[in-house]
């Protein structure tokens, strides 16, 4: 803490000392002089003592302050500091009293002059200390955070200077108490304007630095149009969903000014400072969201738009409590963001509708479009409340809505309806894609794969599941079973048929040929979902093996007789089991396995 002399101008220091030399004399004079004009008038001292029976006499305060300010300044000794502030407050009170009394006498004016001088110097000192305290705590905390970047919690609290929990992690309670005392002293001395100015500067600076740390440093509209989206994403001031849920950053109680300017007398000041900071913060976010919303709409931007939407929504309580006039602007910004989100979602639907590949996915596997869409929707569901809000303001076509409202199944939210629309498009698209497969069995496998993927994604997330509703989920399960049955019928129908017929020689050959063909082909098919894969195999086995055993058993004697047995019946039932396990592996079967 610099001594006052270091930063006082030369002339002023001399001035101060000069007045100090005389201060004792004139103060004694003030204390003892009795105005000659009217004996009924009380002496100054009597007046003072009447008002301030306890504590030191006022001249003493002045002397004390003078000494203090010459020496160490604030910040070293807490008791001395408290005494200092107390003395300042007493001087302020006496100045106020004297002014109210409007005593028209030279000693009074002279005393007031000296007092104003002392107040001025004290206020400067307090102001310096005030700013130091505000800035020092923040810098100390920043050093700690830089050293300890791994700790998530400090990072979280550092993320938003306004998001300070009850205990204001940047400011220990002693600091806050000192800040409060200093603010009170400055305000009593009539230096509220300087105090508020210092406070605002410091907080704005802190906030600005915080934004810089996340790379968001005065983004302008032109930059936002130019910068590739990915680098912009990291730079946004809004919290990201992937990190720990952002605690509410902007609740009014969490603003430091409520603690520093806590007394009832300071309510107006507090409100003003609060309003100023809330406005500053809000306008930054409004600017950023305004710039972002002007960029070309594309699907990956949805989530950042929604983040901004939510951040703005979180700001509303603070804005409403303040005197700032930004509610309309916030609503406007949210509307624009909402419209953008709706557009992006609509484009998702369009891109699904128009996705027309001419080549089928090999092996009937899950189509990339399915993966993309489902993952996108899953992520979108994390914002389902916000998306609900956004879509609720979207007027839906009347006919559809009436239809939906009648249908029990479709008592879903606004966003739920959108999800269902997207799913329906996806289904329709997959249906078309499935027809690219000439083999009806492969078609079924394709539909099973994709249907299963979709179903698993939905079941895997409570939000989507609740959003889509149970009826919808059940319907999809039913469809899956139907595809399964189709598959069985198409692939194994004829196989079973031939096993039921008479004539080992013909049917044995037919079976072998069919089975080999199936084995060769369908081993290269893919069923991605392990459980479904195993279910398929099990159901095929359950279908085929008993039939084969009985078929095998009927002609056992022929085989045992050893004559051309290989020609008709190549496989043991166990072999069939093994081969079935090859199915849907995605790999061509190794020939060596034939004779195990």
């Amino acid at each position: 803490m610099e001594k006052p002399e270091n930063h006082a101008m030369e002339s002023e220091t001399l001035d101060h000392h000069k007045s100090d030399d005389h201060s004792d004399e004139s103060e004694q004079q003030l204390a003892t002089e009795t105005p000659k004009s009217d004996s009924s008038q009380l002496s100054l001292t009597q007046v003072m003592e009447a008002r301030f029976p306890n504590g030191r006499t006022i001249p003493g305060d002045g002397r004390f302050l003078g000494l203090k300010m010459e020496s160490s300044g604030l910040g070293r000794d807490e008791t001395a500091d408290s005494a200092f502030i107390l003395a300042v407050n007493r001087i302020s009170k006496s100045v106020m009293t004297l002014r109210e009394l409007r005593l028209d006498s030279t000693p009074v004016s002279s005393w007031l002059n000296r007092a104003s001088s002392v107040q001025n110097r004290a206020a400067s000192l307090l102001d310096e200390e005030f700013r130091h305290l505000l800035d020092r705590s923040r810098e100390k905390n920043k050093k700690n955070n830089n050293a300890d970047l791994s700790s998530d919690s400090t990072h979280e609290s550092d993320r938003c200077v306004l998001q300070e929990e009850e205990t204001f992690p940047d400011f220990p309670p002693e600091s806050i108490s000192t800040l409060e005392k200093i603010a009170g002293a400055m305000i009593s001395a009539g230096y509220e304007a300087e105090c508020c100015m210092s406070y605002e500067m410091s907080r704005r600076h802190a906030f600005k630095e915080e934004l810089s740390e996340v790379g968001f440093e005065g983004i302008n509209v032109e930059d936002v149009q130019r910068i590739p989206w990915e680098s912009l994403e990291e730079r946004s001031p809004a919290g990201s969903r992937s990190s720990a849920a952002a605690p509410p950053c902007f609740s009014p109680a969490s603003f430091l000014c409520t603690a520093v300017f806590s007394s009832d007398d300071h309510a107006a000041t507090r409100k003003r400072l609060f309003t100023g900071l809330v406005s500053a913060v809000t306008i930054r976010f409004l600017d950023f969201s305004g710039a972002v919303v002007l960029t070309k709409r594309s699907s990956e931007k949805l989530f950042k738009f929604l983040d901004m939407y939510e951040t703005l929504r979180d700001l509303v309580p603070a804005v409403e409590q303040s005197d700032s006039d930004l509610n309309e602007e916030i609503k406007l910004a949210q509307t624009r963001l909402g419209e953008a989100a709706v557009t992006i979602f609509g484009e998702l639907e369009n891109s699904i509708k128009t996705d027309q590949g001419r080549t089928a996915v090999p092996s009937g596997a899950v189509h990339p479009l399915t993966r993309y869409t489902m993952n996108y929707l899953k992520y979108a569901c994390e914002y389902k409340d916000t998306l609900d809000q956004v879509f609720q303001t979207e007027p839906e076509q009347e006919t559809r809505r009436n239809q939906r409202e009648d249908d029990e199944e479709y008592k879903v939210s606004a966003f739920g309806r959108q999800m269902i629309k997207v799913m329906e498009h996806l289904d329709a698209n997959l249906e078309v894609k499935s027809r690219l497969y000439r083999d009806p069995a492969l078609r079924s496998i394709f539909l099973m794969n994709n249907g299963r993927y979709i179903l698993q994604k939905i079941k895997g997330s409570t939000e989507i599941r609740d959003l889509m509703g149970q009826a919808w989920t059940r319907k999809r399960s039913t469809e899956l079973r139907q595809y399964h049955k189709s598959y069985q019928r198409e692939t194994w129908g004829k196989v079973l048929q031939c096993m039921n017929q008479e004539g080992i020689q013909v049917n044995g050959k037919v079976f072998n040929a069919m089975f080999d063909e199936i084995h060769k082909t369908q081993s290269t098919w893919i069923v991605s979902d392990e459980q479904m894969q195993s279910e398929l195999r099990v159901s095929i086995a359950a279908l085929v093996i008993p039939a084969y055993r009985s078929f095998f058993g009927r002609y056992k004697q022929h085989i045992d007789s050893g004559r051309h047995s290989d020609k008709y019946v190549k496989y043991q039932p166990e072999d069939i089991e093994t081969f079935i396990d090859d199915l849907f592996d995605g790999n061509p079967p190794s020939m060596a396995r034939k004779r195990t």
Binding site: M9, R131, S202, V221, E222, L294, T343
Partner: protein
């Protein structure tokens, strides 16, 4: 795709489909509209150049018929607010001309395939300038607060040493801020940005810099304005008769307004704010514009030599008063000498009046500029929509 809803209604709804029928009628109507547009521009700016004197109150002896009250002078806050109103009117009229009843494919064909993107690009730059100016007004409000401290201190009776010192500190900070504004760069941090004289007591200049908002790194208002004038040339030949003309006019008006704002308010990086705007002096509608431009340009040249914060009329007066009052403060010794005190008191009253005016008008001005911002955004969105519509209409059916 849903057209953006706003209270001006959707322009798409007004686009007539019967192209053949209205083309002939349209050209006549269009001509009329264009001429009216030019006349309105001329009228509005003429009023800005020399506002009509207010009705003289009989008791007012200070007002002469020829003088304009200080509050309405060019570059005063009130005048700037009027300028914003004028801009919004011109913009609304222009948009109507551009989009109403217009075949969307018309504005996607040459020469509009070049003119429209240029105009949209200018609008983006204008947005950033609006933001910078709004930030700059925050600085002006800071100056206002410093001035208010000085006023409150100097209004104290009896006037003591402490009061005067307090006023002097505030005024010194104010004057330094006003004079170093353009010389100092907006650096990211540190409180050492100010001179040592300013760094004792009170909010430091460095603090002011470090806590004010920047519109991007290396962003310069002067450069943006210069960039906005690129390709800004009056249309020639047959283009001069049609839509390109109002587009040129509106672009010129936009650039001009942005230029005025940048000159008036301390903005990020104004060094080299080109005095030279490509406003064609010979065109009728532009006469008053040119007049205003010249007046401001002259002032700017004077100020640039001294390095001053901004041409806003109130700030200029504040600076003068500030210097004078600092002189008073330097010569002050308790008790105050009667004549000096009276003269100072008069100046303090004037300063107080400036502060009052600022208190009334600065925030509304900020709000107006934000309104301009939103209007530009909306118009841009509407134009883009129409272009998209044009794209769909002219594309082969899939």
């Amino acid at each position: 795709m849903r057209p953006a809803q706003d209270n001006q209604g959707s322009f798409l709804g007004r686009i007539s489909i019967r192209r053949n029928q209205f083309t002939d009628v349209n050209t006549e109507q269009e001509q009329e509209d264009l001429e009216l547009f030019q006349k309105h521009i001329a009228d509005r700016f003429t009023e800005l150049l020399s506002p009509p004197p207010p009705p003289q109150p009989p008791s007012d002896e200070t007002n002469t018929a020829a003088s304009v009250p200080a509050t309405e002078q060019i570059m005063s806050v009130t005048w700037l607010r009027k300028l914003m109103d004028v801009f919004l009117c011109c913009e609304a009229e222009f948009k109507a001309i551009l989009l109403m009843g217009r075949d969307p494919t018309q504005i996607s064909k040459p020469p509009f395939d070049r003119l429209v993107p240029e105009m949209l690009d200018r609008s983006i730059k204008a947005l950033d300038i609006c933001t910078a100016v709004v930030n700059g007004i925050d600085s002006v409000r800071h100056y206002q607060r410093l001035a208010e401290i000085a006023v409150a201190a100097l209004e104290q009776r009896p006037l003591g040493d402490g009061n005067v010192r307090r006023a002097k500190r505030a005024l010194s900070n104010l004057l330094i801020a006003l004079s170093i504004e353009d010389k100092e760069n907006v650096s990211g941090g540190g409180r050492g940005g100010g001179s040592s004289a300013a760094s004792k007591g009170g909010a430091t200049i460095g603090q002011l810099k470090s806590s004010s908002w920047a519109v991007g790194r290396n962003w310069s208002a002067a450069k943006q304005i210069h960039a906005m004038t690129a390709n800004l040339a009056p249309p020639r030949g047959n283009e001069a008769a049609g839509l390109p003309l109002p587009m040129f006019i509106m672009s010129t008006v936009t650039v001009f307004v942005m230029w005025v704002l940048t000159a008036a308010v301390p903005c990020q990086e104004r060094a080299g704010l080109a005095n030279h705007l490509p406003v064609p002096k010979h065109l009728n509608w532009a006469q008053s514009l040119v007049g205003i431009h010249e007046k401001i340009g002259d002032e700017w040249k004077k100020k640039e030599k001294k390095g001053s914060a901004g041409l806003m009329e109130e700030m200029t007066r504040m600076e003068k008063l500030g210097h004078s009052l600092v002189e008073f403060a330097d010569g002050f010794h308790y008790p105050a000498e009667k004549e000096a005190a009276e003269s100072a008191a008069a100046q303090v009253a004037e300063m107080a009046e400036i502060c009052r005016r600022m208190e009334e008008e600065l925030v509304p001005l900020q709000q107006q500029i934000r309104e301009v911002f939103h209007r530009i955004v909306r118009s841009r969105a509407e134009i883009l929509e129409v272009l998209e519509q044009a794209g769909k209409l002219s594309a082969p059916v899939v």
